[in-house]
Symmetry: C2
Subunit: 334 residues, 2 copies
Amino acid sequence: MSIKKIAEMTGLSTATVSHALNNNRKVSDSSRQKVLIAAHEIGYRPNLAARMLRTQKSSTIAFVIPTDELNRNANYFYMDVLLGIRKKLAETNYYVIVSNYGASAEGEKSLRAVQVLQKQWVDGIILVPSSRNPNQLNILKEMGVPFVLVDRRVDGSDFSCVDSSNETGAYEAVSLLARSGKKKIGLLGGGLGVSSGAMRYSGYKKAIHSLGFDYEDEYVILAKQYSIENGRLFARELLARGIDGLFVSDNVLTMGAVLELNSQGVKIPEDIGIIGYDDFDWMDMITPPLTTVKQPAYQMGYVAAEMMMRKIIGMDVNEKVMLDTSIVVRKSHG
Amino acid sequence: MSIKKIAEMTGLSTATVSHALNNNRKVSDSSRQKVLIAAHEIGYRPNLAARMLRTQKSSTIAFVIPTDELNRNANYFYMDVLLGIRKKLAETNYYVIVSNYGASAEGEKSLRAVQVLQKQWVDGIILVPSSRNPNQLNILKEMGVPFVLVDRRVDGSDFSCVDSSNETGAYEAVSLLARSGKKKIGLLGGGLGVSSGAMRYSGYKKAIHSLGFDYEDEYVILAKQYSIENGRLFARELLARGIDGLFVSDNVLTMGAVLELNSQGVKIPEDIGIIGYDDFDWMDMITPPLTTVKQPAYQMGYVAAEMMMRKIIGMDVNEKVMLDTSIVVRKSHG
DNA sequence: TTGTATGCGTTATCAC
DNA sequence: GTGATAACGCATACAA
């Protein structure tokens, strides 16, 4: 099953066999034929461990995600990202190892999850960082592991990353609510500890200002935990504060909010217009169908993998790619 | 960064260092201390490629799934399974490589996806088979790769597998519709080419019989492709044939069916009671909230990984585990 | 309790 | 165009 065996079978040296198989140097056609035939005959498969030991490359990358027990939808979002990564890697025969860390983890913990997948093992890491703090990533950088951030950025660094236009997405959502006649538009958002949360918050604020509204502190609630319960709780509070429009910048909070409004008999979108975040097929099915900001999850994965491959090839560039969000207009906004 | 370096630092041999690190044979406390300290000092990490080459074990397993572009929900289901696998593997420091194949692929194609992840590379494969045909898996068996099937079984073989009680789930769903007063209960199901589809169909039939109903061919449609469009199309047909209850044994078809009924102004559950398959949080949000058969996806992954580890340890047993489904009772059934 | 030495299957360097 | 052979880092059989 080894190259040595093929060498014996063909009467060639292991060197020639290796080169015939990998096209690394000129090999005569007759030799190549012999090798290929023999290889086929014994069902030869290269031993990746040996190759890896020799070349210091594993043809494998890691995809590291936060997993939040409370928020299965977030995991589903990353599933789409993962399939995008797979798509790209399949083109080049790379593998992907999936690892995860607790979403509630401090940066410390997420890094440990990353350390396991060390230089020795994967050629690179595609990572959803746990916070905007770049410190943990500097360690990775020092280790010399190529990495690409996806979905979230970190502050003040030029690490490669691909995310979507969170700020614009939020801006447009709020603008659409306003165009639909809403005047007291609330934000139910995620924490500012991750870039996506921060950018959506920023987009909300910018929209409020450019629409000529006053920014009201009491119309904004930023949740630390993304649970349906929190969605209900905070939606109830915002409702009591008199909003007539609501932008919810997280998909689980969105579910809680809609549930709460429905159970209070609030009419959507007449009484309150609502726009959620992330797009799933089922959003067509709720009453009324939910207008949302859509991120191109699959494409984010694909692009991240492309960037990863470029790094592995040796192009030592750091690229920041921001893919477009879009508003999927259904009925709930107004 | 290698064992050799530690040997130099401590004045011990590489053998002793290796044993000190892995507890494979008695090492004096003083030597062990020296080794541990030196290892810590240089931030030693074992080179997995070298270990793998030497031991023929990779501490890695593959998880191979079908991916269906039309059915993102199916992918999400597998995400839950994946996280269950991860949970178990994290306990033993195993890694998981995720691979996928086109859902529409013939057995042939799915096997090829598996071949890539060969003996040389992963210690075992957790696999969602593409069909009930065992032939492709016999090849795997011959290769000597431990594998565990998950979610679906294959015919007439004793391969290890873990799935859920599809037949009982379907049986109970139909029974519940009947208890709610439905008398002409239709089935919109998946193809019989995979075991889950076949078992749900069987459960439907058994329920119909034991309820004393006549099995009506025209109340049953089995879809080849799981798309929302098909869900709508076939729901419309069944509706025209006079059903008053509908069990949909696939989550995407369920979405199409509900969409169709709603758009036709059919009242759920008064006019038609409906029960879907698989349970997601969002099912609370549609009107009316959807009663479904729930599979323990996460646990299926966890158990599959447990079985895998047992096989890797060397226990050459084939186990068939069937986890319980349950009915999540909401409002749509009656 | 410890050390020596071999080989896992490749790729790559050097020589021819 | 080809062949010997070293080396990647580790685990282990065999010796001591």
